[in-house]
């Protein structure tokens, strides 16, 4: 009995400490605004029960040169952000294709594209965008993100309530240390074979949560996002218990 009480007291203390840390990290005020993935396996791996808004998130692409899966994953998240304010997407070359984004649910009318070749200017644009409350989110395509730059973006996102995403197209240069709240890596997997049909089946991705403040790394295999921007655990894969919930190496 005494042990039980002690246990409870420790748990209460732990919860208090977590709240205190969250407030100190600047995530306290955004506790209410979270974008869930609507997949229990993923949402439970995130301490907030979903993707926290008003914070900086980094998404990197596993394959060099072709980041279709990472861009689509990001587009799906952006499509589900409410209210449907414009999204500022800053990129070095204009190769983003609006009809392709529309297939992930992100309407062209919500996109504001800024094409800037220099990485330094992209960071400036992101910070300017984060100061404006008229946006739902800002996205910047950069190769390297220094810890100082990431901290600036994280602070600006906290202050304005606009969510920031950094898309690193070549995952090789992605720095391990950054102030981003979560860090994802998305890779395309061979598609699930369509039953009895030739051709490409349902597109699959391997989504890795590399880093997460206050959470553990994890990885999942999911179906690529649908026209509403939702990813799903593939039916075939979901049947195999606990096989695909992998722990990432680090």
């Amino acid at each position: 009995m005494a042990v039980e009480v002690l246990k409870n007291a420790r748990q209460v203390r732990l919860v208090e400490l977590r709240h205190y840390l969250a407030a100190a990290e600047g995530l306290g005020q955004t506790a209410g605004s979270v974008l869930p993935f609507a997949i229990p396996a993923i949402d439970s791996a995130l301490p907030w029960g979903g993707l926290p808004l008003a914070a900086l998130h980094a998404v990197e692409s596993a394959g060099a040169g072709k980041d279709g899966a990472a861009a689509m994953f990001l587009a799906g998240i952006l499509a589900r952000l409410a209210p449907a304010r414009p999204v500022l997407w800053c990129l070095p070359q204009a190769d983003l294709h609006a009809p392709g984004l529309a297939l992930a649910g992100l309407a062209a009318a919500r996109l504001l594209l800024v094409r800037v070749p220099q990485e330094r200017e992209i960071l400036w644009v992101l910070e300017e965008g984060l100061r404006s409350r008229a946006l739902a989110a800002v996205v910047g395509e950069v190769d390297a993100l220094s810890i100082a730059a990431s901290r600036r973006l994280q602070l600006a996102a906290e202050n304005s309530g606009v969510t920031a995403f950094v898309l690193q197209r070549s995952g090789e240069q992605a720095a391990a240390a950054s102030a981003a709240v979560t860090r994802w890596r998305v890779a395309a997997l061979p598609s699930a074979p369509a039953v009895g049909e030739p051709g490409i089946g349902q597109a699959l991705w391997r989504v890795e949560l590399l880093r997460c403040r206050g959470g553990m790394p994890a990885a999942w295999e999911v179906e690529a996002c649908n026209a509403a921007g939702h990813v799903a655990l593939s039916a075939a894969l979901a049947d195999r218990p606990a096989v695909r919930q992998l722990r990432a190496a680090g």
Binding site: F73, A102, L103, R115, A188, P198, I200, A224
Partner: protein, 453 residues
Amino acid sequence: MGLAAARALAPTLLVEEADFLADAAALTKLATWCDRFSPWVTPCGADGILLDVTGCAHLFGDEAALAAQAVERLARQGIEARAAIADTPGAAWAFSRFNGSCFGGSVAIVVPAGAARQALAALPVEALRLEPAIAALLVRLGLQHIGELYAVSRAALAARCGAGVALRLDQALGLAAEPLSPLPPQPLRWSRRSFAEPIATPEAIAAATSELLQHLSRRLGEDGMGARQLALALYRIDGRIERAAVGTAFPSRDTRHLWRLFEEKLPQIDPGLGIEDIMLTATRAEKLAPAQLGLAGEDGNDSADLAALIDRLTNRLGPRALARPVVRESHIPERAVRFVPPLERGAASATWDPARLRPIRLLPRPEPIEATAPVPDDPPLLFRWRQRAHRVRCSDGPERIAAEWWRARDQAETEPRDYYRVEDEAGGRFWLYRAGLYRPEAAPRWFLHGFFG
């Protein structure tokens, strides 16, 4: 001479109808231009402009210099003007038109104060702004010059020729009041400051600019206007002028926003040895209704917020860096998206048919690849892009996209394309196409155009 008679003499005669309304409008415009000499300006009759230069002459030296400068600047515009400065509007009217010393050419006359009565005496009675019939009557009576009217009693004049003559005479001599109303003054869309001591530090320039901005924004607010374009001119003591200009997507008179636009530009200003004069002009202004301020610090004005952001980005990166994609009805992938300025209205996107799968990344120019296909009409089994081989695991297609023949300019554009979605063994999904129809004698040309998620 009638027009018919004139035409008979010169058949090539060019005839231009008189357009009195346009003449009047042009005269008003010219009168507005004249407000640089005096704030009190009005068009007078069909061919004159009246300026009240009381208290203005010293800015130009003296009255003679003012008149000379006015005539000279009008002459530079190709306008032949006759100017006269006198005690009363009536006298000035008379001297500008009836000073017989010369005909044609620009003239500037100044009648010294108090000398009008004597000077007018020599002018013909028509110079009193009389109707032609009345003037003719006076001449018939033997009263040819204004001086001859001085001796005639007002009652006799009124009995023979009506009250008009006496009134005009009194007005010319300053014995009767002649109220006139000036054109409404042009709203001031600029703000200027001069410094007793030239300024050169960035802080001083910034402070002066911000002060001018506040002043100008207040003026714009009084008129219910907002600036679309602002020009800042800094006059250096060595005679050079440094300039900076900013533009906005929506009319604005928000000092904080406009100041942030200038903040970007000020570091590029070279103050040299110092700046003695600084002037801010709203070169383009548009109507902007007074804004309702947010209650208790809430500012829910999203569209203004977005416009402010777009202005800041455009100001630094240039107008071409920002765009909004608009999906339009075209099968050609390169033409399916049009980029419009971010705040352009009326450019609505067509809805995209989800059955037509399109890549999320589209290469700006399709890149040629080496592909191996077993049968000409089949998707490739292997392709090489940027020195890397990709073995195709499965594929979809073809989707034939025919050229828009009504647009085609060269051969490459008229060729149909057969698009395939292919997936390599690593899971990368690509959009490839084979250009042109199958021809047995030529090897098919393959291109990579995009990447799927």
